[in-house]
Amino acid sequence: MHWFGWIAVALYAAAEALAVRSLFRSKGLGAAPALVAAGLVAQFADLELVGRSLGSVPYRTLGGSIALFAWMLGLAYLALVLRHRERAIGPFLIPFVLAFSVLGIVLPSHAPAGPATRGSLFAFHVTLAILADAAFALSFVLSLLYLIQNRQIRRGRTGVLFSRLPALEVIGRMNRTSVTIGIVVLAVSVALGVAWARRVWSGFTDAKLVWALLTLFVYGVMLWMDRRGWEGPRVALLSIFGFLLVLFSYTFVNLYLSQAHVFR
């Protein structure tokens, strides 16, 4: 089981090693993006196999959803690297891809698909929710980098990390983009989810929905304050807080607060 998944994990690990090395060594992007791309292909094959064996979308289960999350995060990394030629984020982002890929494999993934979890509405709802979470995770990493770089500049530490990390302005811009994408995608996902729940369960409120709305609110405040004088470390801290909410929703809310609406 999960041969392709483990191959992907190995490729991500190698990519991380190269990314760290390239931060301190030669110029150019190095081979890390290529390894991540290969890992994405392998992981896609893994998800495909899991989906077939379940006869449903692979992310009906907790493991599958986390694996898909890792996959989308990897995709976001690749897009960012190719678009901005910004290799400095690799060493900080790839560990997340790696960790969630491993979790995706080892966490339970044998929930039989009930009739409720079929259909394209459901598939879109879950896929978009996970995509939104990947965008927020990306923003989380960018915010950490922002805080690190902000500190380096204030202390006049003009070393390797300082010179390799992008300018605050650039990190901030990337952060805005990923949060905007996250908000839009999560909003659509929530709308689809509510529509689907009405059809299947005929009326429902649940902790996860409340949590998603709270997440939307926090990130919305972040974007709004970014233009109202909070540009800088405060916005980065808000984004980190937002991602903690996302993680909480994934773990605590998923396991204890929500009943029907869970990844098992």
Binding site: I153, G156, T158, L168, G229, G232
Partner: protein, 420 residues
């Protein structure tokens, strides 16, 4: 053995350590003079190859020569050419030969021999020196290889160590810091307070760094207008500095004003108008032009001369800490060059060739009965000796290093001497 005929590397030079400014000025060459010097040197037959490295801090003549005493000849040549007392030149000069000469060039290329430790400009100058010599036809196998190796070592030092990473001058530290706040400094507006000496220097520096929107304010407006016209900036009235603040991303104070020109309240108001966009203050004035309390405002970056001098000192220490790693790389590359250069020596090749012939002799003798073997041995020995004699003599007497190298390589290849 004619050891004296072996090609030897040597360098004769004057740099900021040993030679005073006036001496260095006299031996500083323009690239046209370098060409002329190289042609003359080769014309006199002093050296078989030569490259001249001439920068503002050093003039160095690298050469490949046979025999001793070439250093003195070179000094005499320079003293005749530049019209300088030979004693003066001799006293200020430094001389190295063999591996030490090569090591010196490697250190120069890596910036270890520069006034600003680890600076990178010199690497380009070393490369430039080689290309001039190549055009003039004065560099051949040995110096070509030496300089290429030194440039490769210098590049490795830049990518594998931090010796060039940390900026050393106050202005370049400030520019790098501001760049890391705003991304592209060229798109930002810089407001310069003061058009005196420091202001002028700084204006030049930021314009070189690519800044396109530079505004200059000075208490005496004529000075601001004058400087602005000279460097291509925009003069603004002293009274409107406060009004200019919201549109300024970087503010640099260089005036002699006894009181701060920019107050905390002004900056707070400006930040409100800027909706939180960061501001960068650099105070090079003594007493300060910018109220130190500005530092506490959200998303404001403020530095003063003391702070930046600390950064510069720390950066210098960091560069010094990198020196051992740099030297490791240099020794590795130097070792590679010297191994190649060592092959220029005839002795190892001749010894190898002799062994190869003796091997063949012994193998062939094995085919005979022991009694016959003893009788045939003198004959075989004499054939081997006769066969070796002429090639050895010719290799040893070859004075042209490039040709010698080719021939040695040919011998090693034809007789498969590098087999093991």
């Amino acid at each position: 053995m004619s050891e004296g005929r072996e090609a030897r590397l040597l360098v004769l030079g004057w740099n900021f350590r040993g030679a005073s400014g006036p001496v260095r000025d006299r031996v500083a060459f323009t690239s046209e003079e370098v060409r002329e010097g190289l042609r003359r040197l080769l014309g006199r037959g002093l050296v078989s190859e030569s490259v001249i490295v001439s920068t503002c801090h050093r003039s160095e003549i690298y050469g490949v020569a046979e025999g001793n005493g070439v250093g003195e000849e070179l000094t005499r040549f320079i003293s005749d050419w530049r019209g300088l007392e030979r004693d003066v030149l001799e006293k200020a000069a430094f001389r190295r030969s063999g591996a030490e000469a090569a090591r010196h060039l490697f250190r120069v290329a890596a910036g270890l021999d520069s006034m600003a430790l680890g600076e990178s400009e010199v690497l380009g100058q070393v490369r430039q020196a080689l290309s001039i010599a190549r055009e003039t036809g004065s560099s051949r196998a040995v110096l070509h290889r030496l300089f290429e190796s030194a440039v490769r070592a210098g590049k490795r030092v830049r990518t594998e160590t931090e010796i060039g990473v940390h900026p050393l001058s106050i202005a370049s530290i400030a520019v790098e810091l501001a760049n890391k706040v705003f991304g592209e400094l060229s798109e930002q507006t810089v407001l310069l307070l003061g058009a005196g000496e420091t202001g002028t220097l700084f204006a030049r520096h930021v314009l070189e760094a690519g800044v396109r929107h530079l505004k200059i304010a000075n208490r005496t407006p004529e000075h601001a207008e004058h400087l602005a016209a000279r460097v291509g900036a925009l003069p603004v009235a002293w009274e409107s500095v406060k009004r200019e603040l919201p549109s300024a991303d970087v503010v640099v104070g260089t005036t002699a004003s006894p009181e701060p020109v920019v107050l905390r309240a002004d900056v707070e108001a400006a930040m409100r108008q800027r909706k939180g966009r960061p501001m960068f203050f650099l105070d090079l004035a003594m007493p300060p032009d910018i109220e130190p309390e500005v530092r506490g405002i959200y998303n404001v970056f403020a530095y003063d001369l003391d702070g930046l001098e600390d950064v510069a000192a720390e950066n210098r220490r960091r560069r010094v800490r990198e020196v051992p790693r740099v030297e490791e790389i240099l020794e590795e590359e130097l070792g590679r060059f010297l191994a190649w250069f060592g092959n220029l020596s005839v002795i190892p090749t001749v010894t190898d060739l002799k062994h190869r012939f003796e091997e063949i002799r012994d193998r062939e003798l094995e085919r005979f009965a022991p009694g016959d073997r003893e009788r045939l041995r003198p004959l075989a020995d004499s054939i081997v000796a006769k066969l070796l004699h002429e090639p050895m003599r010719r290799l040893k007497n070859e004075t042209d290093a490039a040709r010698k190298l080719e021939r040695l390589e040919a011998v090693r290849h034809l007789f498969d001497l590098d087999r093991d």
